[in-house]
């Protein structure tokens, strides 16, 4: 086990050094979008509104924290790995080292996890200042961590499967961007037709939003959504491990 954890550290070391070199730039780019959503939707469109019995600002902050975990974790991992694999080919060097495929998957996802945790924590901390309805709980921390792993694994998968830099952009436009707006981040899914709800429940960000909201607002916790989020994380991890093990990268 210690050997496995060391391998994860060895794999992630370079990415974390990269983050250290570019900390301010990476952090500001991660939180700029979520801050704009907070200003536009929380204070602009949603001023004075309530949603599901709480002020709208308290409703959307867990949603924005969820989408921050998606955007920061996915984009950090996917963009860097995509460049390392297709442009610099430095990912080949890693593949030639005596490392387990599982350690490579975890290690390559760590940059996204760290960046996602820091960025979503900043957004949530702002929320704690803005509204007394929110509270940080152990369950919230667990869910945001699982959420960051889920979307970071998704980023690894997207980068491993991408045939070009353009196909990464296409993936972001067709999968990530719609999730950002539709998965219960800015509004309750109960407002939507049931057929649309069914589709949205098949996306991981929906479960991330629902669980983070329940954990931070003290609502009944939707354990089934947590299980669904974990299932997505495990599925993405297994896909990545298979791609690396069978050298389909």
């Amino acid at each position: 086990m210690i050997g496995f954890l060391k391998e994860i550290y060895y794999v992630s070391w370079a990415d974390l050094r990269f983050m250290r070199h570019n900390f301010v730039e990476l952090l500001s780019s991660s939180i700029m979008g979520p801050l704009l959503y907070l200003l536009a939707f929380g204070f602009g469109l949603g001023a004075g509104m309530t949603q599901e019995g709480v002020p709208y600002i308290a409703f959307i902050i867990p949603g924005i924290a969820a989408l921050t975990s998606l955007s920061a974790s996915f984009s950090s991992t996917a963009a860097r790995l995509n460049v390392q694999r297709l442009y610099y080919r430095s990912f080949d060097e890693m593949m030639m080292c005596p490392l387990s495929p599982s350690a490579i998957v975890f290690g390559k996802s760590m940059l996204g996890v760290v960046r996602g945790m820091i960025s979503s924590s900043i957004i949530f901390a702002i929320g704690l200042v803005l509204t007394p309805e929110l509270s940080i709980t152990p369950l919230y921390v667990i869910v945001i961590l699982i959420s960051c792993f889920t979307f970071s694994f998704l980023g690894v998968a997207a980068a491993l499967l991408a045939k070009s830099h353009a196909s990464m952009a296409t993936f972001s436009s067709l999968i990530v961007l719609p999730m950002t707006f539709l998965c219960g981040t800015f509004f309750s899914l109960s407002n939507l037709p049931s057929a649309v709800q069914t589709v949205l429940y098949a996306l991981p960000l929906t479960h991330s939003s629902i669980t983070l909201r329940a954990a931070s607002l003290g609502w009944d916790f939707p354990w089934i959504s947590l299980a669904a989020l974990m299932a997505f994380a495990i599925a993405f991890f297994l896909i990545n491990r298979h791609l690396i093990r069978t050298k389909k990268v």
Binding site: W13, F18, H21, Y88, E93, P98, L99
Partner: protein, 286 residues
């Protein structure tokens, strides 16, 4: 002499096209093995297959007695690769790249810096260690990549077109490094476009064409098979022709029998002659 690389019947296909087509190859421990072939012949694919980077559909490969599919971790410990493209992390410094390689090869913490400093000193990288990779010229990047590939003391070093894009000094330094490593027991597997590089360095040479090994032997064995003496003449039809003979006397006799030719050169047959005759192509192009 034991065989450190054994490739048997390997097939690697991209769609319907076989990049490597039933390749059989054995490389002896301690030798410098040159791997020649025209563009697209399967050289780089072969290196990628042996070094575990690319899967294959048929056959088997073992390195140091370890099957690369059944025991990849042990096989990887024995191999170092200097790729055709410089595959370093350009967002990190030279030292950080080396440290990362040392970590990924699980070199003990107490030894990492010592090995990095030793090798960096040897290739003259000392003053560049804290510079970002993307600020270095191609030659210095190649030196950094060389150090990275040697940190774990591989038993086999693969060099895929290692001197492409290097100036003469950098190329000669790399040749010296290759020779020194080989003197210390490292087996070298070298692919190159430069015939003179292969002739200067390699104990044995394999020539691959259309994914198949078509010739194997020492440079002199390959030349003798073709004929040790070459006659090169520029004829009336404005085309250079080549003929090969087993003795210089036969070559002289043929040369004197030539009628209306502008230039005649009698010389020893070289590896480039073998390459062109066997593949029907020049080294650098189709």
């Amino acid at each position: 002499m034991s065989e450190i690389i054994i490739v048997e019947g390997v097939v690697k296909k991209y769609g319907d096209r076989a990049a490597v087509n039933g390749l059989d190859l054995r490389v002896n421990e301690g030798e410098i093995f040159g791997f020649l072939g025209p563009n697209g012949a399967g050289k780089t694919t072969t290196v990628r297959v042996i070094s575990t980077l690319t899967d294959y559909s048929e056959g088997s490969v073992s390195v140091g007695g370890h099957d690369i599919l059944k025991d990849p971790k042990e096989a990887k410990k024995l191999m170092g690769v200097i790729q055709q493209h410089i595959s370093l992390d350009t967002d990190l410094t030279v030292r950080e790249n080396m440290m990362h390689h040392a970590m990924m090869h699980k070199i003990p913490k107490s030894e990492r810096m010592r090995r990095i400093n030793e090798l960096a000193d040897y290739v003259g990288l000392d003053e560049y260690m804290d510079k970002m990779i993307n600020t270095l010229s191609g030659g210095w990047k190649k030196r950094a990549a060389t150090v990275c590939s040697l940190l774990h003391k591989p038993k086999v070093l693969f060099l895929d077109e290692p001197t492409v894009g290097l100036d003469v000094q950098a190329r000669r330094l790399l040749w010296d490094i290759i020779r020194k490593l080989n003197d210390n027991g490292t087996t070298i597997f070298l692919t190159s476009h430069y015939i003179e590089e292969v002739e200067a360095l390699c104990d044995r040479v394999g020539i691959i064409n259309d994914g198949k090994l078509i010739a194997l032997g020492t440079p002199s064995e390959l030349c003798n098979k073709l004929g040790s003496t070459a006659v090169e003449y520029y004829g009336a039809d404005n085309k250079t022709e080549y003929k090969y003979f087993t003795s210089r006397e036969e070559a002289n006799e043929f040369a004197s029998s030539l009628g209306d030719v502008k230039t005649v050169i009698i010389r020893n047959t070289n590896l480039e002659d073998c390459f062109v005759e066997l593949t029907g192509k020049s080294v650098s192009g189709p």
